[in-house]
């Protein structure tokens, strides 16, 4: 169908928002914008649009109508979907076959406005933010087998396939995942799926000693007992600047004690869980601590709360996502102690930190500290008063240099989500 014909049917190029229903229409719209040098904002359902810089764009390409499961073959361990497919629909479909997205998804709706809103798969892939299982089973990028999409010139391109072992050409799935819609408008995504484990259990170790916590994280990472979640929830700060809702959020019948705790998750069949629990009791010297054990149902709920970021529900403050080498967790814990509200995931590698809007200037210091310990920091949620003095994403000089070149190869006129991640791309 020609552009002219489309004008008369489902789309109008003069309108601000396009809602294409097929790949060819996406290509036609982008090709036209490319010719006219018109910047385009690419959106799914806007569930994570608050992350990154705000855009000024002439056009909006809304993918909510390019939705649906194209092919799901449970025995082949993959699902092929359109980008506007709600993440919840994918998770429900997989669940019926006792399968899941192994990287575990985060629900950013809670920190935005207190309600669940997982958004679309396209948006999720664009962000590459995996949940608690990441340290064991990889990030979103490790589960994308292939894609189709439209580049900044309007060309339809594909990469990868549906098989796990594939070295045919550059692995573009990796570079596209986490690019915040600045490289390509995805039109089809193939994800690797995994069998769900039949049971799970979570053990909470009650301690507030940062040395002990970092030692426990290390022992968990050094264990062959396949721990699939490992978090530390401190009962701080005590300075009342923050809504310390920890005891409300983590109210479980079997969580026996108040105060800070480290919790780890075991998944598998019940016999295997029991066997690994025994092993870990020795490895972690659990007899030295006060322990609580959450059964299957409590455990599932516990990790949902973690991955909903419920500790920061509806916050008006800034939320930072910090990733560091795991052995530096003790240093960062000490730095943050009693000053900020935070918790640690990925067995010491991932910190979620809340910074009061009045203390925004402290973000700069936290970032410097994080860079010193060779980590990186992303400002996920900005308070209303955020001044943008500090960049939202971290990148080094050469990383930016290469990124600019990659950007140019996909989107030479920089029309996709300009400035969403870095001002220069």
């Amino acid at each position: 169908m020609s552009i002219e014909a489309k004008k008369n049917s489902q789309i109008s190029l003069d309108s601000e928002i396009f809602k294409p229903e097929d790949e060819q229409t996406v290509s036609d719209i982008i090709r036209d914008c490319y010719k006219k040098n018109l910047p385009i904002e690419i959106i799914g359902s806007n569930s994570k649009n608050f992350i990154g810089y705000n855009l000024q764009s002439a056009k909006t390409l809304d993918f909510s109508n390019l939705s649906g499961i194209i092919e799901y073959l449970p025995e082949e361990l993959y699902i092929k979907v359109k980008p506007g497919t709600p993440l919840v629909l994918i998770e429900e479909t997989l669940d019926k076959n006792n399968q899941q997205l192994a990287f575990e998804t985060i629900d950013f709706g809670f920190i935005q406005n207190g309600k669940s809103n997982k958004g679309t798969i396209g948006g999720y892939v664009a962000c590459n933010f995996a949940g608690s299982r990441r340290f064991k089973l990889g990030n979103v990028r490790d589960h994308i087998l292939g894609f189709r999409g439209v580049n900044g010139k309007g060309d339809i391109v594909k990469s990868g396939g549906t098989v796990v072992k594939n070295v045919t050409g550059y692995d573009l799935s990796k570079v596209v995942t986490g690019s915040f819609g600045t490289l390509i408008a995805l039109t089809e995504i193939t994800l690797k799926v995994s069998p769900k484990k039949s049971s799970q259990s979570t053990i909470a170790i009650h301690t507030d000693n940062s040395i002990q916590v970092s030692q426990l994280f290390d022992k968990i990472l050094s264990s062959s007992n396949e721990v699939s979640g490992s978090v530390y929830i401190p009962d701080e700060p005590k300075n009342k600047k923050y809504n310390l809702n920890k005891s409300e959020i983590f109210k479980f019948n079997d969580l026996k004690y108040e105060g800070s705790f480290l919790a780890f998750r075991l998944e598998g069949d019940k016999k295997s869980i029991e066997e690994r629990k025994k092993d870990l009791t020795k490895e972690l010297e659990l007899n030295k601590f006060k322990i609580s054990t959450l059964d299957f149902y409590q455990s599932v709920l516990f990790w949902q709360k973690i991955n909903n970021l419920e500790l920061f529900t509806s916050t008006r403050n800034n939320i930072l996502r910090v990733v560091i080498p795991p052995a530096s967790s003790e240093k960062l814990m000490k730095y943050l102690k009693n000053k900020y509200k935070f918790y640690i995931d990925w067995s010491g590698s991932l910190f979620w930190i809340e910074v009061e809007d009045k203390e925004e200037t402290n973000i700069k210091d936290i970032k410097r500290f994080v860079l010193d310990i060779e980590g990186y920091l992303t400002v996920i949620k900005k308070s209303e008063k955020f001044s943008f003095e500090e960049s939202l994403f971290t990148i080094n000089e050469n990383g930016l240099l290469i990124s600019k070149k990659i950007k140019e190869s996909f989107d030479p006129k920089k029309i996709f989500n300009p400035g969403k991640m870095y001002r220069e791309i």
Partner: protein
């Protein structure tokens, strides 16, 4: 073998050879620059030994700064550069060009840091894959990806090829197991990508670099993740009366939520060949033989093994052996690991193919290969990494018979095209290199290839880094693409290939 099209030779560069050698000797120690024909002969091919080409000169730098200066010089002087690790690649990715400098990373052979606290190893690219495991195994750790050539292949080469191995179904390939790299771009810029953290902020440059076959940058340092060894490993050896039964069993195991550490299939021809060769005690009445390896905690492994046995029975298995100890487990593998040399003993020559297909299509492709075997009147033995659908058909022929060679090439091309038709891909783990270059258009259209070439151009504007590899030169689907082994004279015959 068919005549291979290579990038246009720059006579200007060949005439400047003396100048180039002098310059290189200023950048690195003079003994690191090889130009005598006897010295550079070992570098004229990699493990795809059917293709040979003498490079202009060979340089073996010792420091990242030297690599940077060499690349900067070559970029300024328009000299092509072919990076090379251990030269064990099977797709000709390190094949030299006569007007190119061969840049060997063999002297980058030190492990720089073993960081047990952060569960990673920082290493130079010339260290072997197995060398990393050897450095950390005293504390019960290992590096997960295990390509069959792991005793000799370098970690830098693994990154360039995104190497996998028998255990990639559960543990992933190189791209899922590295944290950082130092890379030198063609203009000499030294870049640090990632580090000791999980993932990086911004574009996943490490993911792009991994599997880029030396076309985007030269890797001078790699940071890999290390894992704790599983507590228990056991295997099952299962025979099936028909191809369909074996294929269905693979799908059923996966459908039942079991992710084996490894799952291998051999057909009748290979069972007989390997058993004669390695005396592994395989059941000779089976049409298809499967090895399923499971790892984890003891009770979990025992339980899964029991389930695998039950699933196999439902799929009409006619023999099941479960390993009782490590010796028995290794015995199960001994025949499979002897697959390639066993084929070498059966015919003067064999071609090894490498494609991937959806697991559920295993019996379809096996039947198709058997039909093609009859059509071409050439024997074929099939080895599959069935868990991830990666297949290695071995076509046996006599290379001294030109007609047989032609037929073998046709046969091989038909197999690869069938893989793509069945929803699979051209190469699962050997890489495209020069070997499958002209077949890329079976899988990708002009837009797809153009997008990839745009990335190449953006990072290596003059197309000087490993030119002529991966992307089609002829733009036709040439019938190329297998390991060529004549009278057992495989390159690196002592490296196991499976």
């Amino acid at each position: 073998m068919s005549e291979l099209a290579l990038p246009k030779i720059d006579e200007n560069v060949i005439q400047k050879k003396d100048f180039i050698v002098r310059k290189l000797k200023k950048i690195t120690r003079s003994e690191n620059v090889l130009s005598h024909p006897d010295e550079i002969k070992p570098y004229e091919t990699d493990a795809l030994s059917a293709y040979k080409q003498t490079p202009l000169t060979v340089v073996l730098p010792e420091k990242t700064k030297e690599v940077s200066e060499i690349l900067k010089f070559c970029n300024e002087e328009n000299i092509k550069v072919i990076p090379r690790g251990a030269g064990t690649g099977l797709s000709g990715g390190a094949l030299p060009l006569q007007d190119a400098i061969l840049l060997g990373l063999g002297k980058f052979n030190r492990i720089l840091e073993i960081d047990f606290e952060n569960k990673c190893v920082v290493t130079q690219p010339g260290v072997t894959n197995l060398g990393i495991t050897h450095a950390v195994q005293h504390k019960g750790f290992y590096y997960a990806p295990d390509p069959s050539s792991q005793i000799a292949c370098s970690i830098g080469g693994n990154v360039a090829e995104n190497s996998g191995g028998v255990h990639s179904l559960k543990y992933g390939t190189t791209t899922n197991n590295i944290l950082g790299a130092e890379m030198v771009m063609m203009d000499g810029t030294i870049c640090k990508i990632g580090g000791k953290t999980l993932d990086q902020e911004g574009y996943d440059i490490l993911g792009l670099l991994c599997g880029s076959e030396g076309l985007l940058g030269v890797i001078t340092e790699v940071t890999v993740k290390i894992l704790k060894k599983p507590q228990s490993v056991r295997a099952a050896l299962i025979g099936f009366p028909t191809i369909e039964d074996g294929g269905n069993c693979v799908s059923d195991i996966i459908s039942n939520g079991i992710v084996p550490a490894g799952m291998e299939i051999m057909d009748k021809a290979l069972i007989v060949a390997t058993d004669n060769f390695a005396k592994a005690g395989y059941p000779k009445d089976a049409e298809v033989l499967m090895i399923v390896e499971l790892d984890g905690t003891k009770s979990e492994v025992d339980n899964m093994l029991k389930q695998v046995g039950e699933i196999a029975k439902k799929n009409n298995s006619n023999s099941i052996k479960l390993s009782k100890n490590e010796k028995e487990r290794l015995a199960f593998w001994s025949g499979r690991k002897a697959a390639f040399p066993a084929c070498g003993a059966m015919a003067p020559d064999y071609y090894c193919m490498d494609g991937s297909i959806p697991r559920g299509k295993l019996s379809l492709i096996l039947k198709e290969i058997n039909n093609l075997s009859k059509k071409y009147n050439l024997a074929v033995a099939n080895a599959f990494h069935a868990g991830d659908g990666n297949l290695h058909p071995l076509i046996m022929y006599d290379g001294s018979d030109k007609e047989q060679l032609r037929k073998t090439e046709e046969f091989g091309a038909e197999i690869l095209k069938t893989c793509v038709k069945l929803g699979g891909v051209l190469t699962g783990e050997h890489g495209v290199g020069i070997e499958k270059r002209e077949l890329m258009c079976e899988m990708f259209n002009d837009n797809d290839i153009q997008q990839q070439l745009s990335i190449k151009k953006s990072l290596d504007e003059k197309n000087l880094l490993n030119p002529g590899k991966v992307y089609p030169i002829l733009r036709k689907c040439a019938e190329e693409g297998r390991i060529h082994v004549h009278r057992g004279e495989e390159k690196f015959p002592d490296i196991p290939r499976f």
